[in-house]
């Protein structure tokens, strides 16, 4: 009599059942996908249209609705790997700093003499030649007053510029902490802009991820070509600062000549009537970042270039107490009230924000234009037909592989072969269940991993069966003992063999990119589920059969 504790049996069958339930939605792929898309749209909008309701009803809400995502190579779409040129931002910062440096040095003219800016090799450096080397100490002292603290999560308290001297040349460098902060901010801004841009195109589940220090991976399913995607991302956002005429709860039908009515971005149902001609536009903005006002409340500080600074200074001087609207793509981001005359081209927007909101607003403000140019290192376009062809081919290959392996197993091990085939079917179901649960992406190499798993998953069964044969030949006491020993003694080989394969899958996952990663995921899941099914499911089936039939002799 072979025994398996009841709790263990329940646990095993429960796992299998759970796997089946989780895998089930994949059988009705397009239906479930329609249901999920509709559910997302409904959640965003708060109500359902007739079509959305119909789509929702295609799949019962109480069933799990996770499905295996299809990778770009199966669904078709565009893939871009962009490198953000952060050095652009360093250079812009140094260019912006130069007038200030010149001004403070002019104040110390009697000691320093005349000054001249030199050309630099390093983008985050500003070199200023001064006439009187003797006045260098004073010059360094004066320029140091321009330093301010870097605001990051970790680097609080460090100066944003390093000022040193070399002979008669004064060198101002962005400090390492500031460069890090700039990098972070630049990438964050770029990500944000790209995300906003891609979302407006309304495609399904785009992937926009930071990769490494200065790279961004953009994958958009369903878009025609990488060129199209590049055009979308490259388009500059239109940002402007407009005088506010009035605020209302509905669109203003009669805004008046030269005025337009614009909705608010964040406040539902609020509309602003603003003058159509902006005071300053996004082209004039050089920098915006999350900051704090003099009372320590979160705020956004920003900076204009010379032209913008003059226009903004004049306007604010004349309109203290009046609101002006910050407009992005036809929506009002916010409409702060001008507190005071802002002459220096830089200002601070206070409002009722949290730190995150301030940072987001800063990002959006700077998001008017990409903070730095991007070069595209990798571009891939895959047509949807090619993806469908690959899916079809993969399906045929999977069926042929499963069929031929099943035939061989049954021919070799008879009834036990049938058990192995049942275990294989359960194994495939579990793989899909796990992949749906964790939202893994199936790629073309991933399908290959699945097919390979079919071939290799039966290995654990083969090991066990061959071991049972060995034990029978070696004269095990009876059939039950042979089965028990077979499972027991095959274990170490199964574990060692699969751990090594798992190591390979792990390396593939951490070092591989894109589709190869998809392969690693299916391979790893396949290994784990196949060991589970061979050691537990097959064992239960064999035990069940044995206890039912009680055969005198065992034939494998």
């Amino acid at each position: 009599m072979l025994q398996t504790p009841l709790w263990k049996r329940i646990l095993i069958w429960a796992t299998v059942a759970l796997g089946m339930v989780l895998a089930a939605p994949n059988l009705f792929y397009s239906r479930v996908e329609g249901h999920n898309d509709a559910a997302k749209a409904v959640e965003a909008a708060g109500f359902a249209t007739v079509e959305q309701q119909a789509a929702l009803d295609q799949w019962p809400g109480w069933m799990p609705s996770g499905i295996v995502n299809l990778g770009l190579d199966l669904r078709g779409g565009a893939h871009l790997l962009a490198e953000v040129q952060v050095a652009d931002v360093y250079k812009a910062r140094m260019d912006g700093l130069w007038p200030q440096v010149r001004d403070v040095l002019r104040d110390a003219r009697d000691q320093v003499g005349s000054v001249r800016r030199q050309a630099v090799q390093v983008p985050y450096e500003l070199r200023v030649e001064i006439e009187n080397e003797a006045g260098m100490a004073a010059a360094v002292e004066a320029v140091r007053t321009l330093a301010s603290n870097v605001i990051t999560l970790t680097g609080v308290g460090q100066s944003d510029i390093d000022v040193t001297a070399e002979g008669n040349v004064l060198i101002v460098q962005l400090s390492e902490a500031e460069r890090d902060a700039v990098d972070q901010r630049t990438i964050q801004q770029s990500l944000e802009i790209i995300r906003t841009r891609v979302d407006t195109a309304g495609t399904r589940e785009p992937t926009i991820q930071r990769q490494g220090a200065d790279r961004i991976l953009i994958q958009v399913p369903g878009i025609g070509s990488a060129t199209e995607l590049k055009a979308l991302i490259g388009t500059t956002a239109k940002l402007s600062f407009n005088p506010v005429v009035r605020r209302g709860a509905a669109e203003d039908q009669t805004p008046g000549a030269g005025n337009i009515s614009l909705p608010s971005m964040d406040e539902e149902g609020v509309w602003y009537t603003v003058e159509e001609v902006p005071v300053v536009s996004g082209e004039d903005l050089t920098n915006a970042k999350g900051d704090f006002d003099q009372n320590g409340r979160p705020a956004v500080s920003f900076q204009f270039d010379a032209r913008g600074a003059r226009a903004f200074g004049d306007y604010t001087a004349q309109n203290i107490g009046a609101p002006f609207a910050i407009v992005l793509d036809g929506e009002v981001i916010s409409a702060p009230v001008i507190q005071s005359h802002i002459p220096g081209g830089s200002g601070i927007i206070t409002g009722n924000f949290s730190v995150e909101e301030a940072n987001r607003l800063a990002v959006l403000l700077s998001a008017g234009a990409l903070p730095a140019s991007m070069t595209f290192l990798e571009e891939r376009t895959i047509g949807p037909e090619l993806g469908q062809d690959s899916i079809d081919a993969g399906r045929v290959a999977t069926l042929v592989a499963a069929g031929s392996v099943s035939l061989l197993m049954i021919a070799s091990y008879g009834l036990f072969g049938v058990f192995a085939v049942v275990a294989l079917a359960i194994n495939m179901t579990l793989i899909f269940g796990v992949m749906s649960m964790i939202g893994a992406t199936l790629t073309l190499p991933g399908i290959a991993g699945l097919v390979l798993t079919i071939g290799m998953a039966v290995d654990a069964n083969v090991l066990i069966y061959e071991r049972i044969r060995d034990e029978l030949r070696a004269g095990a006491r009876n059939a039950a003992r042979a089965i028990e020993l077979g499972f027991e003694r095959a274990l170490s080989a199964i574990v060692d063999a699969n751990v090594t394969t798992l190591i390979t899958a792990g390396v593939l996952f951490f070092l591989g990119a894109g589709p190869v990663r998809g392969f690693a995921v299916t391979l790893a899941i396949g290994i784990i589920t196949s060991v589970f099914t061979a050691m537990n499911v097959t064992r239960l089936i064999v035990t069940f059969w044995y206890n039912r039939r009680k055969p005198k002799t065992l034939v494998i």
Partner: protein
Amino acid sequence: MAWRFKLAPDKTNFDFFRWQWVTFGGSLMLSVLAVIAWAVMGLNYGIDFKGGTTIRTESALEVDVGAYRDALQGLPLGDVSITEVFDTNFADDQNVTMIRIAAEDESQAVTPEQLGQVEEVLRAAIDPEMTFPSVETVGPKVSGELIWTSVLSLIVTSGAIMAYMWLRFEWQFGVGAVLALLHDVLITIGIFALFQIKFDLTIVAALLTILGYSINDTVVVFDRLRENLQKYKQMPLRDVMNLSVNETLARTLMTAVTTLLAVGAMLVFGGDVLRGFSLAIFIGVLFGTYSSVYVAKNIVLFIGLDRSEKPKNRGTPDDFANVDA
């Protein structure tokens, strides 16, 4: 006894060392030849490793590669190669080619304008209805990194496997297993060099998979060897090895055949995009099976194994296993 299909008889008693100068020597020679093929002929690197652009074209008209080449002649492009693609899955009016344009040094691969020109010229000269189901461009900067990552991943995997084998077995087993893996991977690379099959990122994934499969096979033999070494303490190492391989032979062949069936299905029906990948795994599994029977254990035998009970005799050189090969 019911009828069973058997890849190996129930009880075999082959001497796997008998022809070892042919089998092991042959493996050694094949590995050397593979390295020579790799060094002399080089690999046909895909754009993943070399940078450049590939364009897949699809047309209802029969492909005349010469006509395609003539059409693209006038354009200011780098090195262009055009190959027709065949696959059992294609419909009768589905004629596919792959056009590969090499990256100009250091510059950003092929510009969108150039791509537009290529498409325009081909539509004008060959077939106005031609479609371009996939267009991929990889810049030289990324391709350089991908080479490095690939080499690194092969080294890391081999190292990790060796470490695990050392942990679970003896270090000699680790060395034997990893050298056998090297053999499988080298021969696969050699075949790719010999036939100039496109070598890209998925092939590296295939090589890593071969590592995984082949080690799996070797581990099963070693696991039995470890067990038998405990059981037959007086039997010469060589005989214990033969016994272990014979005992596991049925399983080795069975798993090799099921895996080859699955990979074979992928090779034939899996579509042309995956062909290179499937081929690499197919070759790797063949040699991986061979090497776990004929290569890995021979290396362990050459190195020798300390079979003494460790706590008892320590450091007497005589206690090292007799290398009677």
